[in-house]
Subunit: 223 residues, 2 copies
Amino acid sequence: MPNTPALPSPEKHIAESTVRRLSLYLRVLDQAAARGLQTISSVVLAEEGGTTSAQVRKDLSFFGSFGKRGRGYDVAELVTALQDILGLGREWKVYIVGAGKIGSALVSYRGFSQRGFRVVGIYDNNPQMVGRMLDGVGIRSMAQLEHDAARELPDIAVLTVPAEHAQAVADRVVAAGIRAIMNFAPAPLHVPPSVTVKSVNMALELEGLAYALVRRDAGEPPR
Amino acid sequence: MPNTPALPSPEKHIAESTVRRLSLYLRVLDQAAARGLQTISSVVLAEEGGTTSAQVRKDLSFFGSFGKRGRGYDVAELVTALQDILGLGREWKVYIVGAGKIGSALVSYRGFSQRGFRVVGIYDNNPQMVGRMLDGVGIRSMAQLEHDAARELPDIAVLTVPAEHAQAVADRVVAAGIRAIMNFAPAPLHVPPSVTVKSVNMALELEGLAYALVRRDAGEPPR
DNA sequence: ACATGTGAACTGCTTCACAGCG
DNA sequence: CGCTGTGAAGCAGTTCACATGT
């Protein structure tokens, strides 16, 4: 076997919060690299990432020993390690389902393409939309989704459909064999355990802010 | 004292996860009300909201006793209570800063207006954009932001600017007196403790999905 | 009989603090 | 001597289980 860098694989389960922070560290490291930094300590990584140095070290330690005592972490090395851990070494094929405002905006979101997420299909059930191009990808009819997926199964479906259709669409993409869903519809999705769902509910986040403001106006400590 | 429904105010600190679930329950209750349900039990509320009945009861118990033993919760009553708790009884004035694809999409996002979040200003530093209308609101120059905010301070600033400008823009809206920021830029924001920030990082969520897929392909239990 | 409300137990994430190594 | 890596301690959020009320 060649020098395939053994992908670090902990036996223990890793908390979702840990994975989120790993992504965050990767972003901080990108900036650090852009500034020409060779090496970075857990203290600096923590400050820029909005956490603590112990947390950084603990997070990384789940996957191996990447640092050098007395020196810190080599920026380039850690970037590679994190990309491996997060599965960003490859390209992920993505369907966008729902070509409304949010769906259309996401197609050309650079944060996706930069990390290897490639939009290979956009679907909408509005005949007015079908046929149009978005960022080089043609909008296809929802009716074609299963057929297309059977030919070349995407890894992830991004759902940007109205809340009332979200479950039905989720059922369809699951039936088509897709095993990961990113849900932008403000509705909880029920899927089999073999499918992973992440929901981004923007209204919910705003309501969290409203709550924070109300509590603060009621004289609560910012904590 | 009249029947002013005393806004429930726990002394204890409430976890962010709890607040998120309260928002979620509100959504489930809306659906339940639409279906004509008078009353709902913690079991049903949990199923539809993707959690457990004990969790539902615990979450609500922080703010008071809203249920009737043997019957469950009155849907209409609980909706009102949750709206009060979350601060959704009033209108919240929102600035959208950054009129790119995502910012434009958010302006007309119904999930916002439905809960009383009103966009009162849209700002962009691209002269091409300034003057255009988005959903009835004119795009203004970034240069006017401080001036406008001094006249009528918005409650929340939604940041949809490129990552590299996010911190500078955050500094400006904070200096202008805004105390809550919803950050869509893929960059961690540093603000004084008197300001509340929520970040929605879409690339980060996708990376979480990628990680889940990689782990699964490596033969991990779905958990 | 049914479903809430809640102390107590439990689980697991975070923080601490320091031994170990460059 | 500085900074990592990590057991141990601490703490917060979740789950359990049952007393209580209708």
